[in-house]
């Protein structure tokens, strides 16, 4: 994977002073009678790379989907960059946020999905340029220049003029990463981004993400089953079980000497 272009150009971040960027405050999410997140509190500091691990159904993906405003919390509040994501402060009282407010706050958040979700009706270039042009208001030239830098970063320069269906899964996922970065988000959410890929395509995608993690100061929240990757890129690892964080710490600690028996069980099953 090419690491020679400077990825730091692609991502403008807030000052990385370790200040709090994401705050979950007593967030509860239920699906039917099933409580997926149970009064969850946690914070992520600006510039940190945080990996969420835990068994399926423990609520990891739900956290990312809440942050992306694809779903709404049943209780509690979420703040991003000091602003409420799900609520608006109107005259001192918190009310559920309107569409416009949500759209403004979530401009700072980008997401890469397990199934890529590229737009099949747009060629690769347009997949990347469409949102910067029509959401951020960049000119076509600016957006295309940004897209070309990102395609270079993900090593797909020669595929700009293809439709997504003409690419392999790994290539599609790298386009999806470029598409998310083109919005210059402060936070990048990675939702099991290699789970849908053939094994031989996983490394290419992880290499790109390692590049980004090591050479930019973008904040990353990552749900993954790739423990080596998690160990490589993470500042913090959060272990989830049944909708709660049962343990958190540096990857060295969590992967080598976890405190919790449940964490040990989980890691011995996946490692």
């Amino acid at each position: 994977m090419s690491a020679d272009s400077s990825p730091s150009k692609e991502t403008v971040n807030p000052a990385v002073d370790g200040s709090e960027l994401i705050r979950f405050d007593k967030v509860t999410k239920r699906f039917g009678g099933n409580t997926v997140l149970d009064s969850l509190d946690f914070t992520v500091s600006s510039g940190k790379h945080v990996t969420l691990i835990g068994p399926s159904g423990s609520g990891k993906t739900t956290i990312l989907r809440l942050l992306m405003t694809l779903i709404k919390p049943d209780e509690g509040t979420i703040k991003v960059g000091g602003e409420y994501l799900t609520h608006e402060d109107r005259g001192g009282s918190l009310v559920p946020a309107g569409e416009k407010h949500v759209r403004e706050v979530r401009k700072h958040i980008g997401m890469v999905f397990q199934q890529f979700n590229l737009f099949p009706n747009m060629k690769v270039m347009r997949n990347i340029t469409e949102a910067p042009m029509h959401v951020l208001g960049l000119s076509r030239d600016e957006a295309e220049e940004r897209a070309r830098e990102l395609l270079d970063l993900v090593d797909l320069t020669e595929h700009a003029d293809k439709y997504p269906t003409q690419l392999s899964g790994g290539q599609q996922q790298r386009v999806a990463i470029a598409r998310a970065l083109a919005m210059r988000p402060q936070v990048l959410l990675l939702d099991e981004v290699t789970s849908a890929l053939d094994p031989e395509l996983v490394a290419g995608v992880l290499d790109v993400l390692r590049d980004i993690a090591h050479s930019t100061d973008i904040t990353m929240l990552c749900v993954t089953h790739e423990m080596n990757f998690a160990r490589d890129i993470s500042d913090d690892v959060l272990m989830f079980d049944a909708g709660r964080v049962i343990e958190s710490g540096s990857p060295e600690k969590i992967f080598s000497e976890p405190d919790h028996e449940r964490t040990r069980q989980f890691l011995s099953a996946v490692l």
Binding site: E99, R106, P120, M122, H134, G169, Q172, M183
Partner: protein
């Protein structure tokens, strides 16, 4: 019994022109209605869904012929103005076939993978942008074949206007039949006329369909020679199976 004279032929040929006009105008109105009602029926506000759903049920459940009579004969009594028969017919056909079309639009929009909308949200597109840039372009290829069916239904349904004295193919045919007393040749001729018109429409819609599919990366869509098509069936099957709208998006 007498021969069909040139003057009578002209009646039939003129009828083709009227039928074509009726079909084109009604299709244009029906398309507007189909998209407006079809999209309204997927709206997040219940009141919009309710009103559009009521329109759909009422216009699907009433006969186009009765609607035509109603617009032509009842509306003038209520409102004091009279549409010319041609426009009354266009209105009736457009409104009722638009109701059928709305179901096609709604179904195709619903068939686009929800993950596509989520990707649109993740890029902060507004709901209108999501619809225009992501959902409709992917839904469109799926709408074309059923729209083609509906268009041909409407072409044939346009014969209803002859009852109100609009000079379409069927009206011309009854005049010619009255003048000559020849049923078999006259009705055989217009049977062929309708078939040819429908066939032309179908070929046109095929072009639209190929174009629509190419727009979501489902190429190649070039016509090959007969020999190539017979030998190259596998290639075409591969191209077809290569992608579905919203491919790779199912969660």
């Amino acid at each position: 019994m007498s021969e069909i004279s040139w003057g009578l032929w002209k009646l039939l040929l003129n009828g083709i022109w009227i039928t074509v006009q009726l079909t084109v105008y009604s299709a244009a109105l029906a398309a507007v209605v189909a998209f407006a009602i079809g999209l309204a029926r997927t709206h997040r506000l219940w009141i919009v869904r309710f009103v559009s759903g009521a329109y759909f049920e009422i216009f699907r459940g009433t006969s186009a012929l009765i609607l035509m009579f109603w617009i032509f004969f009842v509306l003038p009594i209520g409102f004091g103005w009279q549409l010319v028969p041609m426009w009354a017919a266009v209105l009736a056909l457009g409104l009722s076939y638009g109701a059928y079309g709305s179901e096609i639009v709604r179904g195709a929009v619903k068939a686009v993978a929800p993950a596509q909308r989520e990707a649109g949200i993740a890029l902060s597109f507004s709901p209108a942008q999501q619809l225009r840039k992501i959902i409709l372009p992917q839904a469109w290829p799926g709408m074309v074949p059923p729209f083609n069916n509906l268009l041909i239904e409407m072409l044939k349904g346009s014969a209803l206007v002859s009852i109100m004295g609009v000079g379409d193919i069927t009206f011309g045919a009854s005049l010619v039949r009255n003048a000559t007393g020849q049923s078999a040749p006259v009705y055989t001729i217009i049977l062929v006329m309708y078939f040819v018109l429908a066939f032309v429409l179908t070929r046109g819609m095929r072009v639209v369909e190929r174009h629509a599919k190419a727009g979501v990366g489902q190429a190649p869509q070039k016509r090959e020679g007969l020999r190539a098509r017979m030998n190259g069936g596998q290639v075409n099957d591969f191209a077809r199976s290569g992608a579905t709208p919203g491919g790779g998006a199912a969660q």
